[in-house]
């Protein structure tokens, strides 16, 4: 029996980064807001106090803060001709679960995309001609521009207290920052974080090679900060347990340390944790959402009616819920029609591990934060001439080593046996003098006709609903891009004086067991044409106008940066459209 709850103005599905932003903005506009979150409530003091937050086995190896695959998972295959099999334990990416979502255990590397990233197809076609792009590449313009989003990027960075060095303020290039970035209206709220030895050495070598290194923009505080909502964060202590972990110091920008304390005080905001939304309900016309159905841990089904539905469940869960709710036409790669599941992308990461003379180098790799590091942007987006290289896309690269936790980070030179006395000796010898950035080359992944999400014909979740099926593989364009970037990256470590360098190129096929990032993108993309996008430029569903879908599912392709700066800017942009336009006249904001 489904029990019906009193109607709300707004129901929010998933209280992660964008759910928190939307909840705050809409509650602030005076609406009655209910958020429904699949995972548990999480707080710094109770969930990751410094006394035991730094447990590598519990949090990194056993994935304590993440979704349990038994609750729901995906099936995966490389090619349409294969049978997809379930991801039984997480590998290539790690889906968040619980209040704060990925914000709790992210690194907080807080980037903006390049202005050209938003008009990608137009830009590349103008510069290189339409024939330069592979036939099956389905990249699109976003329908929104960098200039549209600039104020919203700014808001997120000031919310988070992002620590960084501007490279372009109102068109003025600033020494020490990223000269390729789009113009920003003002400096970062906080100066960049201090850098450890490895990153400093990298920056020097990069400068000697003629590049313009700059500190990675970081949501780990370089000093104490009070944000515009009045919430305070403490300085980061470089604990080295950041990515995958909650911060025990209130030093990492998360929904808990920036928004939730203020949101929770609002009488018109309520939330339910441990409750999984199973469906967005539609009225008989199929053109209007009436609310959502969710299931609590006791297995009880509830209906939450609402006038406005915000779907903010993270990329692939957004797509899955749209498919299961029958909203929008499912994508068909054969007929090249439909939109839900289309333009699904992930990332093209590779690394260079370098070994230095132990007698001369001690890096103390455990002195690190989630977003520490020095980067260069010469090989990102279209910052360089792709003409001679025969591929498009790129990424930032840097010495961004976030930890020296010994289970994960104990590199040994190639040729070392995997066990025994020689292995033990090599671990001991190289621990202090090796560098392993992790996501050293942070490459883009552009979209293709045969990379998509649909529903699996065989495997089911615990409610008997079909799992979402990912069909994804690397294409030549991305593999070429990665080989080029990885070689460039390795030259810098060579110049730093490494005595041995190991290039870990990204090779095909896409492997679901190898962690890259949790930057899944696409599947419910934004655009200007309802025939090729699920959402309009305000993240509003073309099919169901009282539904807005936030998150990287809206990205038509994945540029060479971490997504959350843009994910959050888009959420503020959509919230602004709802507050200032939609509420005055609820309905479709764009006449297609």
């Amino acid at each position: 029996m489904v029990r019906k709850l009193p109607a709300k103005d707004v129901v929010i599905v998933g209280l992660g980064w964008t759910g928190s932003i939307m909840a705050y903005e809409l509650a602030d506009a005076g609406l009655d807001v209910m958020a429904i979150e699949r995972g548990p409530w999480r707080n710094t003091a109770t969930d990751h106090p410094p006394g035991y937050a730094a447990d590598e086995l519990r949090y990194r190896i056993r994935h304590e803060l993440f979704l349990r695959p038994e609750q729901t998972t995906f099936t995966f295959r490389n090619k349409m001709s294969q049978t997809a099999l379930p991801i039984r334990t997480w590998g290539a990416f790690m889906p968040p679960n619980g209040v704060g979502g990925g914000g709790v255990h992210w690194n907080a590397e807080t980037w903006r995309f390049l202005p050209t990233d938003f008009v990608l197809r137009t830009h590349l076609t103008q510069r290189y001609g339409a024939g330069f792009l592979p036939d099956d590449m389905t990249i699109q313009d976003w329908g929104v521009t960098y200039d549209d989003l600039e104020p919203h990027y700014d808001r997120f960075e000031y919310l988070c207290g992002t620590s960084g060095q501007a490279g372009n303020v109102k068109g003025q290039i600033v020494e020490g920052g990223n000269p390729f970035e789009g113009p920003r209206s003002r400096h970062y709220p906080n100066p960049p974080q201090d850098q450890p030895f490895g990153a400093t050495l990298f920056a020097k070598a990069a400068r000697d090679l003629g590049y313009k290194p700059f500190p990675q923009p970081s949501g780990n505080m370089s000093r104490a900060y009070q944000n515009p909502l009045g919430v305070r964060l403490g300085p980061c202590t470089f604990c080295g347990f950041c990515e995958w972990f909650g911060c025990g110091n209130y030093s990492k920008a998360t929904p808990q340390t920036t928004i939730l304390p203020v949101l929770l005080r609002k009488p018109n905001f309520a939330a339910r944790d441990n409750s999984e939304v199973t469906r967005i309900n539609l009225d008989a016309s199929g053109k209007r959402a009436t609310g959502v159905t969710f299931v609590d841990t006791g297995g009880n089904e509830w209906e939450q009616p609402a006038d406005l539905v915000i779907l903010s469940a993270y990329t692939i869960f957004n797509v899955q819920l749209l498919l299961l709710s029958g909203i929008g036409k499912p994508y068909d790669p054969v007929g090249n029609s439909g939109v839900i599941g289309r333009n699904f992308t992930h990332q093209t990461i590779s690394d260079v591990v370098s070994f230095f003379d132990p007698a001369k180098f001690a890096f103390n790799p455990f002195i690190a934060s989630g977003s520490i590091g020095m980067c260069i942007d010469e090989f990102n987006g279209d910052n360089f001439d792709h003409g001679p290289h025969g591929f498009v896309g790129g990424g930032y690269m840097g010495q961004v080593q976030t930890n020296g936790r010994p289970i994960e980070t104990a590199p040994v030179p190639p040729g070392t046996p995997r066990w025994g006395a020689q292995w033990k000796k090599a671990v001991k010898e190289n621990y202090q003098s090796a560098l392993k950035p992790g996501t050293g080359v942070h490459g883009s992944m552009y979209s293709y006709r045969d990379v998509y999400v649909d529903l699996d014909p065989t495997y089911k979740d615990r409610f008997g609903r079909p799992l979402a099926r990912m069909t994804i593989d690397f294409h030549d364009n991305e593999l070429k891009q990665n080989a080029f970037l990885t070689d460039k990256f390795a030259e810098i470590f060579q110049a730093m004086g490494a005595r041995q360098i190991v290039k870990e190129y990204r090779k095909g096929p896409y492997d679901v067991t190898k962690y890259q990032t949790t930057h899944l993108c696409g599947g419910a993309i934004m655009g200007t044409d309802p025939g090729t996008s699920a959402l309009n430029r305000y993240l509003q569903s073309w099919d169901v106008p009282n539904l807005f879908v936030t998150g990287a599912s809206a990205f038509p392709q994945n540029p060479g940066y971490n997504p959350t700066g843009t994910v959050a800017a888009l959420a503020y942009w959509a919230a602004d459209a709802i507050r200032n336009r939609y509420l005055k006249n609820p309905g479709q904001l764009i006449n297609a």
Binding site: T46, R68, F76, R77, R88, N364, I367, P406
Partner: protein, 213 residues
């Protein structure tokens, strides 16, 4: 297992004591194996004295051993390497069957001697053959069993001592990892200067605990 899945639980500390998962014979074999994977040397104890077998024992008894939280619905089909593990065996089953397979293999090929009765060189020889895929067990993939050991033993050597391994933080001391000190603001600027302070565990340090007599 030192925590109840899902949050808001402070960890329990694993204590020495009787085996919780392994039989006595299995435990003896595992102690011998972990000492070949991480052999003792004059500076640092090996896997056995570091508690790696205790660590694995406690892990197998807990949620890891039963594959708690993982997706366990069928059909189970062998896929490509890229599609990841598709075995219906839990880690506990893998160890139980793998150790039985190892015992049978050793006895059949060494005149009735089990793994623990072989010399260190012979033990290394057996493990190398398994690693190279030259040995078949009846019930489980021998190579897969060895891969699990290569993951679990270093985890025992390097995880926080509260989990039963890394006894006295010997793994951390070997490499100079300071454990959960959590605050390095005083050292971020001291480039190329080795961090001097000894490690701290979630359970503190022995020398921070007063003598009782």
């Amino acid at each position: 297992m030192p925590w109840t899945p899902f949050p808001t639980s402070a960890p329990d500390f694993e204590r020495p004591g009787p085996w919780q998962f392994f039989t006595t014979d299995e435990a003896t074999a595992v102690e011998a194996i972990v000492d070949r994977i991480i052999p003792p040397d004059p500076d640092t104890p090996g896997g056995k004295d570091a508690g790696c077998a205790v660590f694995i024992d406690r892990q197998l008894k807990g949620p890891y051993g039963s594959a708690a939280g993982l997706y366990r619905l069928g059909p189970y089909t062998k896929g490509t390497k890229e599609q990841g593990p598709q075995s219906a065996n839990t880690p506990a089953e893998l160890y139980r069957k793998g150790l039985a397979g190892l015992d049978r293999y050793c006895k059949a090929n060494n005149g009735g001697k089990g793994f623990t009765q072989l010399s260190a060189e012979q033990q290394d020889g057996v493990l190398k053959k398994i690693e190279a895929g030259e040995v078949k067990f009846d019930e489980v993939d021998a190579q897969g069993f060895f891969d699990a050991l290569l993951k679990d033993v270093p985890e025992g050597f390097f995880s926080d001592p509260i989990h039963g391994g890394n006894k006295n933080m010997v793994g951390w001391s070997m490499i100079g990892f300071p454990g959960i000190r959590y605050d390095y603001r005083d050292w971020i600027h001291r480039h190329n200067e080795r961090y001097p302070h000894p490690p701290v565990s979630i359970a503190g340090r022995a020398d921070w605990t007063p003598h009782k007599s």
